[in-house]
Amino acid sequence: MTDTLTPVLSDNWDADKPWTRASYERSGGYEALKQALGMQPDELIQLVKDSGLRGRGGAGFPTGMKWGFIPQDNPKPKYLVVNADESEPGTCKDIPLMLASPHTLLEGVIISSYAIRAHTAFIYVRGEVLHVIRRLHAAVREAYDAGHLGKDIHGSGYDLDVVVHAGAGAYICGEETALLDSLEGRRGQPRLRPPFPAVAGLYASPTVINNVESIASVPSIVRNGAAWFASMGTERSKGMTLYSLSGHVTNPGQFEAPLGITLRELLKLAGGVRDGHRLKFWTPGGSSTPILTDEHLDVPLDYEGVGKAGSMLGTKALQIFDETVCVVRATLRWTEFYKHESCGKCTPCREGTWWLVQVLARLEKGEGSPEDLDTLLDQCDNILGRSFCALADGAASPIMSSLQYFRDEYLAHLEVGGCPFDPVASTVFATAGASA
């Protein structure tokens, strides 16, 4: 029986200066790199396939399979790009990982690049996290000094350069093809697929793009074996992962557990919903995943379980909202976010998110009509699945799911001619008597 929490990625976060190479190596760091360099690249791809690791950035695509799609007979250079543009509302796992232990990611980058036969790798980190950028730069510098990067790494004949690349503020760049355009020095706008990045990615060359947590999981798989990784989790969702609890819980934070833990178990560990309040709604994996309610406390938080409950595991960003929060206000704010972040390339998203805000803002002020609720659903229907990327699909998620579970609350705004909630009641300082 596996323990309730299984810290692997977070295991050294309480060590002394874990962001330094010396500290990381004291906890076994870079041993997996030496093992990996003694293996054939294809063996590593098979190992990651056998482990069952699936992408931790939201989509859950099998990582080893992604690597296997790289056409090795293509004469162009191969690239590894790490998606460190963590921006999905609620998602806050990659930033603490890179702040505390950037070498965990970097060791994963080197092993993964070796596996796909890339000689240049990029870490695309969002620009708004200054100290994380510092720690990544320092880790890369230390890795070069130790011979973990550069020419003929540890006498293997393998060369690798890593570039830390900071973005400039655009949620859409977390979408992998928009990220590639941005990394090419362009506006971050998604590309039509096919061709997929594995065939024509960065500079139209074969490219693997993986999330930080996915790549950071690779050294532990090399060190401990595929069966070890697969011994954690559920039948089709293997391994340990970082669950991020935020919002109205007593002790919010990061919980590294095998896939399949439930919100009920996680809430117990986090000390429950804040004192004197009860769970109203939550996101399982960021704002783009349909909200769930207190009916869903026992849903296994793995790819299949959350899917069966009508949502998506996403980034395992569990945002917890208690009964003081107006679901219409929450949904409007998320919708304003999607409107702001729409890159403007596809008409249904660019125009649709604008109209969604218009209708929702009117409803939130209690000025709409009951027909507006059907108009909203009709708009969602015209946006969902009609753009190059999933941003617009994400915009529809909170609206469709909140209407599914809380239609009466929308109508209550119309009945009282405004929002029936006190916005101060939901704040962390509500009990302290502070207000604007």
């Binding site: 309730t4 200054l130 100290h131 919010p252 945002q319 916005p423």
Partner: protein
């Protein structure tokens, strides 16, 4: 202000980090901001010249991303997260209080050039809500009174430290680091705040571990 030879050399150095120079454009624009305090027409021309692009191409990129500013930014860019979770936890109240306290609106700068206030989107620190940033360093678990104290301290020139990072540098210095020219502050600040460690702490107390490896 004119861009000097050192800046031109550094812009070229950035372009040289990449297999294709245009990939350097985003960090190059960050460097322009660190020198000029915003993205200037001259900075756009310089990037265009080095990358052999039109100024219109560079402008098109510069206007797409929210971190690039057309108007001069103060010494301290103060961000308040008003995405849903931070907003309901107190971000909206904090932002209103700061606008009133500083007498400025969103994306505006105080007359003394000290503070530029902006409401920001989710900055990946939700377990520390309500979250603020100063020059893109985290200021965690804020409330209206700590927020007003923070901006008062910044305006008074007092040393301010990030709750999960080092002492706060100026916005221009921060932009230089983002452009890929690190300073010497990497070892300041903790590895993690308490929420990042909450699960790990429970695991230690309970003796919970990942299984032993199979090789």
């Amino acid at each position: 202000m004119t861009l000097d030879a050192t800046t031109y050399a550094e812009l070229r150095e950035i372009a040289g980090r990449y297999p294709q120079p245009r990939s350097g454009l985003l960090p190059m624009l960050h460097l322009v901001q660190s020198v000029e305090g915003r993205v200037t027409a001259e900075g756009i021309e310089a990037c265009a010249e080095i990358l052999e692009l039109s100024a219109a191409d560079v402008s098109g990129v510069a206007t797409f991303y929210t971190m690039y500013k057309r108007r001069a930014v103060g010494d301290y860019h103060v961000g308040v997260c008003t995405n849903t979770l931070c907003a309901v936890m107190g971000g909206d109240v904090i932002f209103e209080r700061l606008k009133e306290h500083l007498g400025i609106g969103n994306d505006e700068t105080t007359e003394d050039g000290a503070i530029t206030l902006e409401h920001i989107e989710c900055n990946a620190a939700c377990d520390y809500a309500p979250v603020m940033t100063v020059n893109w360093e985290f200021m965690d678990n804020m409330d209206p009174s700590s927020a007003t104290q923070l901006v008062d301290d910044l305006r008074a020139g007092k040393e301010v430290r990030s709750t999960r990072g080092p002492r706060i540098c100026t916005w221009r210095e921060a932009e230089r680091v983002i452009a890929g020219f690190p300073d010497d502050l990497v070892d300041e600040g903790p590895a993690a705040g308490a929420p990042s460690l909450v699960g790990l702490k429970i695991a230690r107390e309970q003796g919970w571990k990942a299984p032993e490896g199979d090789k």
